[in-house]
Symmetry: C2
Subunit: 366 residues, 2 copies
DNA sequence: TACCGCAAAGAAAGCCCTTTCCCGCAGGGA
DNA sequence: TCCCTGCGGGAAAGGGCTTTCTTTGCGGTA
C-alpha cells in the first residue's frame, strides 16, 4: 500500500504539504506543488488509510445505528430516513444488525464506541428485562459522558432523546375499527411478549375493546416470532383453539401475511369469514391479496427525526417526539359475518387504500 | 475517553501489560496483574480505540461488500449468505449500498480500500459501459496488487474469482415453460437495459422462444427500473401497445409484483387471461395472489460461495462458479387462453410451489 | 544596505494502540 | 559459587496521518 510519505517523496514535497493538498486544507499550497502531489497520487493509486486519518483527526464524524435487521422492511424504511439525514450532513452510517439479541446489542454499543462514532441510534423495540435495560443504560451513559450522543427509536427505557411511534394509539385505532365493523370475537397474533412494541400495541387494542364492552382474554392472544412464519403458526394455533373468531389482529404486517397464507391454505375466505389486520404498513401490504388493512407508521420520518435529534446536541433536557399512527383501510377487513350488516362492501381501487388520518393527540386511549 | 495508558496507570502497570491482558495475548501475565487491569477496565468503562488498533495491527480482518441495496430482498438474501461465512471466520462485514450508481461504486471501492479491508465483494449486475468497466477494473486491480482479494457476484467484467447465477439459463427455462403452456404472444417487463442481468435473462428467454419458433421483437420489451413501480409502469405501457399478449415475463420478482398490481387494477384475470412470471424467487413471491411462478436462484448460497472465494486465496487462476437456476411453478401461470388446452389446471397447495430442478450444465441454450 | 513582515513549505509532535526487543530476576545445573 | 536459561514485565519503536510550530525566502520599507 502506498502511503502518504510515498506520495510526498515522489512529488518531492514534505508529507505535510501532500496532506494539505489531498484533503483540501485551508492552508494555501502553490499551484506547482499541488499539481505534482496530485500527479503522484494518481500514479501511485494512493488512497489514504482511513484508520490513520480517523486516529489523527480528533473530531468524530460517523454515526452508529443498531437495528434488528436492515433487510426487514420495517427497519429498512427507518434506515432510509436515517441515511437521508446523515448523508445530508456528510456523515457516514455504520449499521449493526442485532437480530433482537440483547447481548449483541450490548456488544454493538461497545463496538460503535470503539469506532469513535459521534452518535449511537438504537432503533427498534425495547425489552421487558430489567437486568438488560440496566446494563444497556450503563453503557449508553458511559458513552454519553465521553461526549457521545444517543437517540432511541421506540424505546421507553432510555431517558435521553427519543422518537416514539404511537404504538398504543395504533392498537387502539385498529381495535376501534374492528369494533365499528361489528367484530366481537377477536384474536391476536402477537410478537414476542418480551418486546415493548408488542405490549404497547396490545395495550391500545385492549383499551379499545374494553371501551366497546368487549374483552381480550389471554387465551385469544398467541405470541410468536415477529415474522411471516410466526404469524402463520400463531394463527393456526389460534383458529384451532378458537374457531369462532371473526377477526385476527396481527401485530405487524409480516405476521399478517403469514396469517393470510394460513387462512388461504385452510380456504377461509378473507374478509368474508375472518378479517385480518396488520401493523406498520410495509410497502408489500398493498400487494398481497386481499390487500392488507393496517396501521401506518411514518417509518422514514421516524428515522429522519431520530438522526436529527442525534446530530443536534439540543439545549435543554431530553426531547421526545411522538409520531402518530393512522389506519389504512384496504380489503382484508369487512363487517363481522354475524353482525347482520351487508355482506358486500365497496372495495378500494387495488393497492391504493384510503387513509384515515387521525391526530394522535386527544384521541389517546385512557 | 479513557485510553489504554489511563487503564495502565490506574492498574499500576505498563501499557504493554495492559494491552496483553485486554486482548488475550499469548504472552503470560501474572494473575495478580491481570486482575488489576481488568478491574481498571471495568472502572473506567474502557473500550479500545478501534482505529488505533487497526492501525497498530498489521493484518486486515474486515471484508467489504458493495451491493445495490441491502433492503432489496434479492441483495438481502445474498448478504445473509455473505454474513454467515464471514461471521464463521470472525470477519466483520462492511456493507455499502451503491443504489446502482456506477460512480458510487467506484467511490466505495476507494472507501473500502482506505479502510484496509482484506477483501472486496461486488454483488449485483454489471453494466454495459466500457468506460466505467475500465475504471472499475483499474481500481480493483490496484487493490489486488496491494494484496487485497476481490470476488464478484453476477458480473462478467472482472476477470478474478466470481460466482455467477445462471441468468441466461433461467431466462431460457421460463421461456420454455411458457412455450410449453402454449403461449405465443409474450411480452417482457425488463430492468434497465444497461444491466448485464437484464440482457442475460433476456438472451436466454429469446433463445427459448426461438427454439420454439417464436420471436421476441423489441417492441414487446419494455425497460424500466427493477422495482415494483417500474414493473407496473412497464406492464401498462406493454398492454396498451400489445393488447393481445397472453403472458408477461418480468425479469425480477419486484417487477412481477408491480405487473400483478397493474393487471388487478385493470381487472385482467391472472392467469386465465394473462400469465405472469417473475425471477429470483424472493420470499414474498409465494404470498402474493396469485402466487408467483418464478425462477429460483440460490441467493444465500451465492453469497456464501462468494465469501468463501474471497477469503481463500486459492492456488491457480481465477475460479468461476456458476449456480443453477430452477423454475418454481406456482399460480400465476396457466395455459394460453387461445391454445385450446383445458382451462382448469391443478393448483398447488398455497404457497408451497413445486420445484423443477434442472442441472444448468448440459441444458444451456445454444 | 539592513530590517521587518508575510507567505509557503517543512519539521516534528502527537493520535492510541500493538509488538518486538530487552532487562532483571529466580531457579537449576555444573 | 557462577553461569545459563527461562519467564514475566517494561521501554520503545512503529503504524500512517493531521496539525501546530518553526523555518525559510522573498518583497518591501526605512
Amino acid at each position: 500500500m502506498a502511503t502518504l510519505s510515498d506520495v510526498a517523496r515522489r512529488a518531492g514535497v514534505s508529507p505535510a504539504t501532500a496532506s494539505r493538498v489531498i484533503n483540501g486544507s485551508s492552508k494555501p499550497v502553490t499551484e506547482d506543488l499541488r499539481e505534482r502531489v496530485l500527479r503522484a497520487v494518481a500514479d501511485l493509486q494512493y488512497v489514504p488509510n482511513a484508520h490513520a486519518q480517523l486516529l489523527a483527526r480528533s473530531h468524530r464524524t460517523a454515526v452508529g445505528v443498531i437495528v434488528h435487521d436492515v433487510s426487514d422492511p420495517y427497519f429498512a424504511e427507518i434506515t432510509r430516513g436515517l441515511q437521508r439525514v446523515a448523508t445530508d450532513q456528510g456523515r457516514l452510517l455504520m449499521i449493526c444488525n442485532s437480530y433482537r439479541d440483547p447481548d449483541r446489542e450490548l456488544e454493538y454499543v461497545e463496538l460503535l464506541r470503539g469506532h469513535q462514532v459521534a452518535a449511537i441510534i438504537m432503533a427498534g423495540s425495547g425489552y421487558h428485562d430489567a437486568t438488560f435495560t440496566k446494563r444497556l443504560n450503563e453503557k449508553l451513559t458511559a458513552y454519553e459522558e465521553t461526549g457521545g450522543r444517543v437517540a432511541v427509536i421506540g424505546r421507553h427505557e432510555h431517558s435521553g432523546d427519543a422518537v416514539m411511534p404511537d404504538n398504543r394509539t395504533g392498537g387502539w385505532l385498529i381495535g376501534t375499527e374492528l369494533c365499528a365493523l361489528g367484530h366481537a370475537e377477536i384474536g391476536v397474533v402477537a410478537g414476542p411478549e418480551v418486546l415493548t412494541t408488542t405490549t404497547d400495541r396490545l395495550a391500545g387494542l385492549r383499551a379499545a375493546l374494553t371501551e366497546h364492552g368487549r374483552s381480550l382474554p389471554e387465551h385469544r392472544i398467541r405470541y410468536a416470532e415477529f415474522d411471516r412464519d410466526g404469524g402463520a403458526a400463531a394463527t393456526a394455533a389460534l383458529l384451532d383453539a378458537e374457531p369462532a373468531l371473526t377477526a385476527v389482529v396481527a401485530l405487524n404486517d409480516s405476521m399478517a401475511i403469514g396469517a393470510l397464507a394460513l387462512l388461504r391454505s385452510r380456504s377461509v375466505p378473507v374478509p368474508q369469514q375472518v378479517s385480518v389486520t396488520g401493523f406498520d404498513d410495509m410497502p408489500i401490504a398493498r400487494d398481497v391479496t386481499p390487500a392488507l388493512t393496517t396501521v401506518r407508521l411514518p417509518l422514514v420520518e421516524m428515522g429522519a427525526r431520530a438522526m436529527a435529534l442525534a446530530l443536534d446536541p439540543g439545549a435543554g433536557g431530553p426531547r421526545v417526539e411522538v409520531l402518530a399512527a393512522e389506519v389504512v383501510r384496504r380489503d382484508s377487513t369487512g363487517p363481522a359475518p354475524d353482525a347482520g350488516t351487508a355482506r358486500v362492501r365497496p372495495t378500494n381501487q387495488a393497492g391504493s387504500g384510503r387513509r384515515v388520518r387521525r391526530a394522535a393527540a386527544g384521541r389517546t386511549p385512557s
